[in-house]
Amino acid sequence: MRPHQCGCTILPPELLRRIARNGTARQRDAALGTLAIDHTLRLARATYQLLESGAQRGALGVPVTAKQRTVYDAQGRDVLPGKTVRTEGAAPVGDVDVNEAYDGLGATFDFFADVYERNSIDDEGLHLDATVHYGRHYDNAFWNGRQMVFGDGDGELFNRFTISLDVIAHELTHGVTGDEARLVYLGQAGALNESISDVFGSLVKQYVRGQTAAQADWLIGEGLFTAKVHGVALRSMKAPGTAFDDALLGRDPQPATMAGYVRTSEDNGGVHTNSGIPNHAFYLAATALGGHAWEKAGRIWYETLRDKRLKPTATFIQFARATVQNAAHLFGRTERQTVAAAWAEVGVHAGT
């Protein structure tokens, strides 16, 4: 059985597989050899076609589709999505919120596609929609399960919510987590959910800026506060608890280690507070591993997010153990020790 010049076999693949399973040793070898060549040829053909078309290849050889963004203007009202103001491929408009939303969606899509071969938030090419100017003096931004929504801020404490790329990527990453590990938004699982959004939020920003882990500022939401606020950002992964200390907002409550873990019924058990601990672990791992944070630390965290063994109710220690295992499996012993040491430094002892 030899392949035709076009790369197809005379015998269909399923028959070859039957021979491979049930035939004599010689028949099996021949069938497997043909299948291997056939598979290689199919893959080569598919790759050639993809390279010709300029498309990227996703994790299973399925092409990452081109991004499809639409930005809407809610014009100060509460109705979604609002009026279409910028579609995919259109030139920048006069409204900076629109352009920032458009660019932020694009940067997040490109990061996940380029670095992890992920095809949009759901890994199936989900169109990315955003609405700006939602509500009046609306002091927040969120992913509603289908689209991004951005407020203008009140101008007193907060600027426009499109101003910070890592916040945009943070919100979109909630969609990724919802598609993968589905970490429940409560207690330690919720703090992990929050942390993962901060991790990939920061990585998108670092990727756009071409920064190494050492060069990054590891701040989330820089630029969001007005000049009236005594603070630099919503959170710091490098130094949890130092991002703000303001008369109205209070002081940044984040702990850096388990010694400061906050037991509370507020904020779903402190998901935005205790996220400081896994955030700091990631910062420590990324800086110890060196280079660009998305290459090793980010990959380990991403594969852990997609790890089928990770439960929606995962605790810090369960997540930490998974990152340690994935570090070994993806890279090796040194990376494994480095990740374990980072967790140990924040008080999560994830095993030898």
């Binding site: 509460d78 959910n193 959170r235 109205l248 209070g250 984040q254 507020e266």
Partner: protein
């Protein structure tokens, strides 16, 4: 009529914003008092479920504890708030709460 108002959640934990604020209607100007009572009436809190469905990530959750001198009712509402009357009440309470915080 007194209202205890809290904002929970959002993009970040802000201890200053998470502390409850008490709005005593009788201490407001007559206009503000009347307006707030009207918003409370329209929001019809006693007919609402005490706790709505769980909020999305980074959405804020508002807790309104109303004491109208006769009855008490606590209602927890996540954003985005679909009902215009409830949204108007929350917006007004948020503004009053901001004023109370600034005066602290």
């Amino acid at each position: 009529m007194r209202i205890d108002f809290r904002i929970d959640g959002g993009l970040a934990a802000f201890p200053g914003l998470a502390k409850p604020v008490t709005i005593d209607c009788d201490r407001l100007s007559p206009q503000d008092n009347a307006r707030l009572r009207e918003l409370v009436r329209r929001a019809d809190l006693f007919q609402r479920p005490r706790r709505a469905s769980p909020a999305m990530p980074d959405a804020r959750v508002y807790t309104i504890a109303l004491d109208d001198g006769g009855q008490c009712r606590t209602v927890t509402v996540p954003e985005p708030i679909a009902d215009p009357a409830l949204r108007a009440l929350v917006d007004a309470l948020a503004q009053h709460a901001a004023a109370v915080r600034r005066a602290r």
